[in-house]
């Protein structure tokens, strides 16, 4: 990969002034609920999700399709249409709740405060504008830069994300770039205003492994340079293991387990996490028969009562004391120092 030359990051005076209080979390999500109400049944995509992210930290949100991982990120970015979406809870950026603030103030946070990169770069970029124009738009909209300045900044950024011959390619259109390069263009756009938190929604899922390695390296390098917090949304356990510090595992709209990668991946405290880990074939060994989770994830308009995982869970049962996984929903609780899980039987999983 081309090492990004030492072009200095764009200054961001308007956001850097309000420093996070005492190195605490820069973004906090608390008890977030997202429902979609339109014709037909109410679809509950996110049901009480809480997490926080500190500067320089990488947190992975891991889950299968339909678990609510992307919807929670879209709620943070304020890109869900309300209605049909119905959002409750709190999303605090540097202590201020974004859900209750005026649209104008929210816009000031989006870009310099929190920005996002998407899975499919081809559909996330506008095909009728050159990539330089699209990257420069950030400076024109937020900093009042002229077209010419915007273009100059775009060249700098493209250089920084390792796009070769940036000056020649700044006027090219998205379709003229390869998948990996398009993803770099999107990263350049997201990083234009030096965000404090970057949300990466499946940033490498559409890419080949060799390109994935390049892009993940770039993201980590940029994070080291800028000290931003990174929320990495993915279903790939390998990517999570290699880049994240902490992980939140989501299932059916709830966080079912959180902790450091080493803790969670070495000894999962939730049967769903364990099931995921035994479902994946290994690169380093041919292995024996896979041991997948039975069944399929629930439909979000009809989530099972009690623990939402109980119909697929090998540990679900009615205990002698009358506690029944099918009716008594567990709560996310501390099961070991620094790690939490939402299961009645986490201790059993951890200590055999």
């Amino acid at each position: 990969m081309n090492p990004p030359p030492g072009s200095s990051p764009a200054p961001a005076p308007d956001t850097r002034t309000a420093a996070p209080a005492g190195g605490g979390p820069v973004l906090e999500v608390e008890d977030l609920h997202v429902e979609f109400r339109s014709r037909g049944p109410v679809v509950t995509a996110v049901r009480g999700v809480s997490y926080s992210i500190s500067p320089g930290e990488t947190m992975a949100i891991l889950g299968e399709s339909g678990c609510g991982k992307s919807v929670s990120a879209q709620a943070i970015m304020g890109i869900l249409d309300v209605p049909p979406a119905h959002i409750t809870g709190a999303i605090r950026f540097e202590g201020r709740d974004m859900l209750t603030m005026a649209a104008e103030d929210q816009r000031k946070i989006r870009g310099p405060g929190v920005s996002m990169i998407f899975q499919d770069a081809l559909s996330a970029l506008n095909p009728v504008y050159s990539v330089g124009y699209q990257i420069g738009e950030m400076f024109r909209a937020h900093r009042g830069a002229s077209k010419k300045e915007g273009r100059e900044r775009a060249v700098e950024l493209m250089d920084r994300v390792g796009i070769p011959a940036a000056r020649q390619r700044v006027d090219d259109y998205p379709h003229q770039f390869s998948g990996g390069m398009r993803q770099r263009v999107m990263i350049a756009m997201a990083l234009a205003l030096d965000p404090k938190v970057l949300i990466a929604d499946e940033p490498t899922t559409a890419l080949d492994v060799t390109v994935q390695a390049q892009v993940m390296d770039l993201l980590q390098e940029l994070q080291r340079e800028t000290g931003m917090g990174l929320i990495l949304i993915t279903h790939d356990l390998g990517v999570v293991n290699e880049v994240a510090d902490r992980v939140a595992v989501m299932y059916a709209g709830r966080v079912v387990e959180t902790g450091t990668i080493d803790d969670v991946f070495t000894a999962p405290a939730h049967p769903y996490t364990r099931g995921l880990m035994s479902s994946i074939p290994l690169l380093e060994d041919k292995g024996n028969r896979l041991n997948p989770i039975v069944g399929a994830p629930p439909t979000l308009s009809n989530i099972p009562r009690g623990c939402s995982f109980h119909p697929r869970c090998p540990m679900a049962r009615r205990a002698t004391d009358g506690r029944d996984c099918a009716t008594d929903g567990p709560v996310l609780r501390e099961v070991a120092p620094g790690r939490r899980a939402e299961c009645h039987y986490s201790e059993e999983l951890l200590h055999g």
Binding site: A213, L237, N241, I280, L282
Partner: protein
């Protein structure tokens, strides 16, 4: 379930009898090429070049064997699958199935070939007709190959097949949109099984599925192979999946196979630089092995298959490339690593960290 696999054996040609006596592999691909013309102009089309999608591929599949074909997008692996099921005609080379050249097959011989070689597709959403019920989808092939299933017991056969792939047999009257992605992929598998195939070409059969469902489908494919003696050509980009399911693995780059061998050969002792780079890019799942392997990050993109580099196709991105690589096309042969590799400077270089050997070699 015995009647799920009744193979109508009515036509035995000379070549097929000779093949049965010789014990040669079920499928042999030799020097397979497919070049798509690049055309310019609207009224008067002029061919200005060719996309060399597949450019000299050799491959064999034995009875009851799973052969993996792995490579990145655009390497030509899906074109190989289309050539195999006779959806495309090869530009050059041979596909020899049971001793007979597929391109020479006509009439009933070709019809039999198309029945015996079935395909499972990547996208379970677009590969099923939304206007047909699951039962109709599974039975559709019988309207052409009526001899596989006698008219009388077809409903029963449909139920058996759905049951075989782990679906509720009562779902035969449901439409594809009423099924989840994993269930749809099972319908696709049942459709292939309905033809009593010998070889199934699986083109990225699990890459659209979530990990837990992916594991279910892979287990199903393994069970079917064990019970019915099927052969698979398993095409995928996910290296871990390919290793898990395959007996032998072929790594493809820009229309060519660059390395081939058993899973232990290719993953444990990769000797082609591209295989090494590919394997080292895959993130490992275990915290203990994180950062242990040495990572080879390739620069640049795959060259255009319309204008591949001279000599070795990988030389433009290879850290070992020397003058000879631009002049001489390295052939796919064993250069002392125990399995064939298409590199002038092939050498065993372990890149995947394992528990017994957590820090593989450091590159020269």
């Amino acid at each position: 379930m015995a009647d799920v696999q009744t193979r109508p054996e009515r036509r035995t040609s000379e070549a097929r009898r000779a093949w049965e006596a010789s014990g040669e592999p079920l499928l042999q691909i030799r020097g397979l090429e497919k070049h798509f013309p690049l055309q310019q102009g609207i009224v008067f089309k002029k061919t200005i070049g060719h996309v060399r999608a597949v450019d000299g591929v050799d491959l064999t599949v034995d009875r009851g064997e799973t052969v993996g074909l792995v490579g990145e997008s655009g390497c030509g692996k899906s074109t190989v699958s289309k050539l195999l099921v006779a959806l495309e005609r090869p530009t050059a080379g041979q596909i020899v199935y049971k001793g007979e050249d597929v391109s020479q097959m006509r009439g009933s011989a070709l019809k039999d070939y198309r029945r015996e070689v079935q395909m499972i597709f990547q996208d379970p959403y677009s590969s099923l007709n939304p206007r047909m019920t699951a039962g109709d989808i599974v039975a559709e092939g019988w309207s052409v190959h009526a001899d596989v299933a006698p008219k009388k017991g077809r409903d029963r056969r449909i139920r058996d097949l759905l049951d075989r792939v782990g679906l509720n047999a009562d779902y035969a009257n449901r439409y594809p949109h009423q099924f989840s992605g994993g269930q749809r992929q099972r319908i696709g598998i049942a459709r292939a099984l309905a033809m009593s195939p010998e070889l199934i070409v699986c083109d990225e059969p699990v890459s659209a599925l979530d990990v837990s469902v992916q594991a279910q489908v892979m287990n199903l494919l393994e069970d079917l192979q064990k019970d019915l003696g099927l052969s698979y050509l398993f095409i995928a980009h996910d290296l871990s999946v390919v290793r898990h399911i395959s007996h032998r693995v072929n790594v493809m780059y820009l229309g060519r196979i660059v390395e081939t061998g058993t899973d232990a050969d290719v993953y444990g002792h990769p000797s082609h630089p591209y295989t090494q780079a590919l394997l080292s890019s895959v993130p490992v799942h275990e915290p203990a092995l994180r950062g242990k392997g040495d990572r080879i990050i390739l620069t640049g993109d795959v060259p255009s298959p319309a204008n591949p580099p001279s000599g070795c196709r990988f030389r433009t991105r290879c850290w070992k490339a020397q003058d000879v690589c631009a002049q001489e096309d390295p052939e796919l042969r064993d250069r002392g690593q125990g399995h064939p590799s298409a590199c002038h400077f092939a050498e065993d270089h372990q890149v995947v960290p394992t528990e017994t050997n957590p820090s593989p070699d450091v590159p020269a």
